[in-house]
Amino acid sequence: MANLLVAEHDGAGLKDATAKALTAARALGGDLHVLVAGQGCRGAAEAAAKLDGVAKVLIADDARYAHLTAEPIAALLVGLAKDYDAIVMPATAIGKDVMPRVAALLDVMQVSEVTKVLSADTFERLIYAGSAVQTVRSRDAKKVITVRISSFQATGTGAAAAPVEAVAAADDPGLSRFVGEELSKSERPELTSARIVVSGGRAVQSRENFAKYIEPVADRLGAAVGASRAAVDAGYAPNDWQVGQTGKVVAPDLYVAIGISGAIQHLAGMKDSKVIVAINKDEEAPIFQVADYGLVGDLFKIVPELTDELAKIGK
């Protein structure tokens, strides 16, 4: 038997999340196949075939998978499931949407957002916004798993490309229809895979100040921009910038928290960052308890200085 990893991709290529989830999927042992479902996704399938440890790539190239909506993808996965011991997907918005539907159709209790694979049936995952680590063993014969990608390093390319095999599309249950999407266009790296993240909190005070203070320092560093829930709730930053328990979980090399007090729900989304910098005028702010480097003071004075200082060292 073998395990199946469901790829996250943009058609032409793979998202970083796929190579990270692959690392978790390989830790299960056994042969590993990757499914690339989409429309016009040959490029992504070929990229998947090059990843180390992939024995075979399945490609389901069909209009019904163009937007990776849950109902048709779940139907496809349920059809493929009989050949696999485990079905794995990164816990991206798509993975979170699709996989529990697959699990219930297979009568399996999903293991959500695993942070460590201890064996083929035993995993670690976080509960209560990361306040506790649970070690769980699945008693189900088949496993359905989503992977917290910030907890795994990406797998690189292997020596030889694996074969790519087409699979037939499954019947579309015809329950939902894609209407449209508004994706934020940005030259910046993706929040969940950026090497550096600069985040602003409520103390930034306005959307204009995000543009004036936070974004320039992020661009100087080639960083993604994040935000605390308070900043998003106040309308200072778009929803998809939110870092935290119910937003995105990031673990960059450098995380710069500006004007963020550090509620547990925010820490849940960034405390695995390699180096954390906190800039806050309240020296008692909890963010300083997790920061490697703290700077107490007024962000409106410090952040422009920081942007200038980075320019001096050629950033």
Partner: protein, 249 residues
Amino acid sequence: MKVLVTVKRVVDYNVKVRVKSDGSGVELANVKMSMNPFDEIAVEEAIRLKEAGKATEIVAVSIGPAQAAETIRTALAMGADRGILVKTDATVEPLAVAKILAKIVAEEQPGLVIMGKQAIDDDCNQTGQMLAALLGWPQGTFASKVVLEGDGVTVTREVDGGLQTVALKGPAIVTTDLRLNEPRYASLPNIMKAKKKPIAEKTPADCGVDVAPRLEVLKTTEPPGRKGGIKVGSVAELVGKLKDEAGVL
């Protein structure tokens, strides 16, 4: 249209959860419990549909111990019409919760089920999708906007790069994200009125569902701590440290 909402009793959002020293779980004795925040958003959305004349009745369902009746009572005070408590002291996993809810949906025949996208205790983010699967219904997860049109529902969803809109055939499942609405506080007169609203009681066995866990929890531990570092005195010192000591620039 009848709308069903689900409400879970969880440790309050503001409580700092502590792991028990013997690794058997987290400390739940004498801890403040509240309605899961995403479920409050679900209740609010249902009430707004009723106020807009699109929903006729709101049924709030909870699965949990006797005290989960208080959580239902909160939903009734906000504006739900009646409650159903599926009483159990066991820890019920999302799959079993979805099976129980599927039975209740079969009895109640709602046109829409609105649920929180995840509970802030186990952080699973599964139950809505699982219920949709078991019923063969479409799902609109992580909703930031819900528009009822005829028997269908158009849902704007929060996805990784922004927003996606899908049109679902009714009946459907919607799970709420944070920005769908701001839940109201119950007024005192409504809290009084809620005391008279009915709550029916059942058990998982009445629904014919085996709630034995599929995931065995081997242990629960503290996450590795992160030590606070140092305070630096100036921006120049910070940049110097990041460049030379941390090597991240």
